[in-house]
């Protein structure tokens, strides 16, 4: 489309960075990973102006940035503050891109439901996992805290969830996790996989109650979710 390309040329001819080089997806990836919100928004707008499809900006620019964050987090090279500022940068970029994606009818391929189990009001762990799943381009439905097994099941059905994530911080609420897994499994949803996590949770407990996956931290939660949806496909 000649007109569109001409617009891009005019835009960059006026842009102070033009004389240096065109914006690159790699720059956006680096900006997200470093949690540079202003740069992330600017680069997103510049890449859009080049005519790059929003989906490419998400999948080839933003998601790899959050993947770097996840890897660094797993290795204790960065900590929660750095993860938060990176996720916030991505969120700001998505505010620009999501309306465009919606107009084009493009949705994330996978949907995840997440909540803290019944009897438990903690939410920081759940919120971190939500951020990282969004960063991996999952559509995330956050059910909040103190979520009953029945609400998890209803939401899993309504949203045709690929992943249901259960969080618990207290040893006292682990039985609620077991009951939730039991009810969802009994419903026989063929494409839904259940992941659990939280301070008192272990792989052994996950195995014991029949959960499909256990994530020790927010970085690993992305890997496990991807693995589970791939296995279910």
């Amino acid at each position: 489309m000649p007109g569109k390309n001409r617009g891009v040329r005019i835009y960059f001819a006026r842009h102070p960075a033009y004389k240096i080089r065109m914006p690159q997806l790699a720059d956006l990836t680096a900006a997200v990973a470093a949690g540079k919100r202003t740069d992330t928004v600017r680069l997103t707008q510049e890449l859009l102006a080049t005519g790059l499809p929003p989906q490419d900006i998400v999948e080839r620019g933003l998601v790899p940035g959050m993947a770097i964050v996840g890897e660094q987090f797993k290795r204790n090279e960065i900590f929660v503050p750095e993860m938060l500022v990176a996720a916030r940068s991505m969120k700001e970029a998505l505010k620009i891109l999501e309306p465009l994606l919606a107009t084009a009818g493009i949705k994330p391929k996978y949907t995840a439901i997440i909540g803290t189990v019944q009897g438990d009001l903690h939410d920081i762990g759940k919120n971190l996992i939500s951020m990282m799943w969004r960063g991996a381009n999952f559509a995330v439905v956050d059910l909040g805290t103190n979520v009953s097994p029945e609400r998890y099941l209803a939401a899993a059905k309504e949203h045709q969830a690929h992943i249901v994530g259960l969080s618990a911080l207290l040893t006292t609420t682990m039985p609620a996790m077991k009951e939730t897994v039991r009810i969802i499994k009994a419903a026989g949803l063929p494409n839904t996989r259940i992941m659990i996590g939280g301070a008192p949770i272990t792989q052994a407990f996950a195995d014991d109650i029949g959960a499909d996956g256990y994530a020790a931290d927010a970085g690993t939660a992305v890997d496990i979710a991807k693995k589970l949806v791939a296995e279910a496909a």
Binding site: V80, L170, T171, T172, T202, A216
Partner: protein, 361 residues
């Protein structure tokens, strides 16, 4: 086997000095639901009776967690399980009505540096002390009469930060506005120490200071060791120096995995770490040999193992960890968090028996 017999106070002080003791000092924490279960299973009395049976050695004189608006509790909503209130820190939180557990923090009144400087900082500094010296004197005398190691208790800056401005603002602020974070920690520490001064002025002579602050989760510290060192550690060191200057030892409480900051704790002047959460990967069998001479270890007995009620596994947990801790003479028994209601009364009585068996020097 030693032949000396000590009071709780003597025992704990000797633990800190790595001197000869008759047995390991002991303390524990229980969820209210645990005590309720045990009462149904034959416990006569409440947690004080459990402390008596356990042979608890520690006694809390007072608990300092300064509030910005003392006494405020405005009910905003409720259902059959929870109530949502605007609380004494200016935030909105949802609490359980009939069970234990920490609240869900819905919003925080102190949501910006401006709010802190214009409203919350002056209010915190002007608020009355959270401590009643008369109550503290009574508690101190009670602890002394029981022969226990008496201590002040209070919340440190990191925990106060999270309660005042929330996890997200706190952790992002550590990157984007560190001076704001440093100021909150500094002011909170000033107010806590001022409250303790009021108690000491009333004639209380505690043996120690027990500082509470959860700065980690099951994977690592919430912020990097470098960020902790820069923003929070100076206040920790100030609290420890304050206590040491008054002849007190310092216990630091944090849940979570704090392996990477043990040296910073030693450098801050902490004398003891508690409760050393096993399910976060903390294991005194690994670091008592490396840090036990400088940092006493208090706890680490895995509540998840207790919750299995598998006596053989629990006995091995206690035997092996007591052996590691006692090798330094700087070890005290505590569960690695709070004993949960999955633990039967029979199991906990067996646990006391294992502590008797393996905890004698």
């Amino acid at each position: 086997m030693t032949t000396i017999s000590l009071t709780g106070c003597e025992r704990v002080n000797r633990m800190f000095a790595r001197q000869e003791q008759d047995r390991v000092p002991r303390q524990d924490t229980f969820w209210p639901e645990t005590i309720a279960r045990w009462q149904r299973e034959g416990l006569t009395g409440d947690h004080t009776e459990v402390f008596r049976l356990l042979g608890a050695d520690f006694h809390t004189i007072c608990w300092s967690w300064p509030m910005v608006f003392p006494g405020r509790r405005e009910l905003l909503a409720e259902d059959h399980e929870t109530e949502t209130v605007r609380d004494a820190w200016g935030g909105v939180a949802r609490f359980w009505k009939h069970r234990s557990g920490t609240p869900e923090h819905i919003s925080f009144g102190c949501d910006s540096r401006e709010a802190w400087e214009q409203v919350y900082r002056p209010a915190l500094l002007a608020a009355p002390s959270p401590l009643d010296p008369r109550v503290a004197v009574r508690q101190f005398r009670e602890g002394r009469a029981l022969g226990r190691w008496t201590h002040l208790a209070g919340v440190e800056g990191f925990e106060a930060l999270r309660r005042l401005i929330g996890d997200e603002a706190c952790l992002i602020g550590m990157i984007e506005d560190p001076e704001w974070i440093r100021d909150i920690v500094r002011v909170h520490t000033d107010v806590v120490l001022r409250s303790f001064e009021g108690v000491l002025a009333a004639g209380v002579q505690p043996d120690g200071l027990w500082i509470y602050g959860d700065m980690a989760y099951n994977h690592a510290t919430l912020c990097s060791p470098a960020m902790y060192r820069e923003l929070v550690w100076p206040a920790h060191r100030r609290m420890a120096e304050w206590a040491h200057a008054r002849g007190m030892r310092v216990i630091y409480h944090t849940d979570g995995c704090v392996r990477d900051v043990l040296d910073l704790y030693v450098g801050a002047g902490f004398d003891c770490l508690q409760p050393i959460e096993a399910k976060a990967g903390m294991d005194i069998r690994a670091f008592a040999p490396t840090h036990g001479s400088r940092l006493a270890m208090f706890g680490n007995i895995d509540v998840m193992k207790m919750a299995t009620n598998d006596l053989a596994a629990i006995e091995e947990e206690i035997r092996s960890k007591f052996a590691a801790g006692m090798a330094t003479r700087g070890y005290a028994y505590h569960s690695d968090h709070s004993v949960p209601p999955q633990v039967s009364w029979d199991t906990y009585r067996a646990i006391i028996g294992f502590i008797d068996r393996y905890g004698d020097y």
